[in-house]
């Protein structure tokens, strides 16, 4: 399932490494996403010397604060269920940040291009990484599923849905500034 989600384009960092509810509650995943923002800023500064303007930095701080408060009690109670869950989050956050940074760098490199061209440039690499990770983070694995007609249809529909979600996201991002 993870493999097909990669075909949809969520990329290695979006592999369900921490979204598995066996390891982490969904609220913890949502809260952990907030840690990606400051790491992206740090990486972009370290690699490219990019520093957001004071106004934009203030906006980023406000977004993080409001999202934390928006979560309310579920966020406070959404701690990882186990050490394995915490380790997965610790692995996922920097990976996600690196993916976002690379996404931005690729976009700047390509310049003005279509949404599909941007996806075509990014996803082959993400797909390779995600395919390699899938057997480790999404047991029981591709060949252990019972591939009935209904299951194949569900997986295909899920893959199509994931692709469309990513397409819509890239459509928005390609029209926004960095």
């Amino acid at each position: 399932m993870c493999l097909l989600d990669g075909v949809g384009g969520r990329g290695a960092t979006h592999c369900r490494i921490i979204q598995s509810l066996q390891l982490n509650p969904i609220a913890w995943y949502q809260t952990a996403k907030l840690a990606v923002t400051p790491i992206v800023v740090a990486i972009e500064y370290g690699l490219d010397g990019v520093v957001p303007s004071a106004m934009r930095a203030a906006c980023l701080v406000l977004v993080c604060l409001f999202v934390v408060k928006m979560r309310g009690e579920p966020a406070a109670g959404g701690a990882p269920q186990s050490a394995a869950g915490l380790i997965c989050v610790a692995i996922w956050v920097p990976l996600a940040a690196a993916y976002k940074v690379q996404f931005g760098r690729l976009r700047r490199k390509l310049g003005k291009c279509s949404t599909l061209a941007l996806m075509h440039a990014l996803f082959p690499y993400a797909l390779v990484v995600q395919t390699a990770l899938s057997p480790f983070v999404d047991p029981p694995g591709l060949f252990d599923y019972e591939w009935t007609t209904s299951a194949v249809f569900s997986v295909a529909a899920s893959g199509l849905g994931a692709f469309l979600v990513n397409y819509s996201g890239f459509l928005v991002v390609s029209h926004l500034g960095q």
């Binding site: 303007s53 934009r56 406000l62 977004v63 409001f66 408060k69 500034g177």
Partner: protein, 48 residues
């Protein structure tokens, strides 16, 4: 960074749409914070 903020915007929008269209019950604080988060994201997109 736009990609990161897009993810947060989706979360806030989900909460607001659930409240507006489906009548899901949220506290005033959650709704205000979701709206403010969206406003902050829009401001980030416009500011340089």
């Amino acid at each position: 960074m736009s990609h990161v903020l897009l993810g947060q915007a989706k979360s806030a929008t989900t909460l607001l749409v659930a409240a507006l269209l489906f009548g899901t019950s949220y506290t005033a604080r959650e709704l205000v914070c979701a709206s403010s988060a969206m406003a902050s994201i829009v401001a980030y997109a416009y500011l340089k």
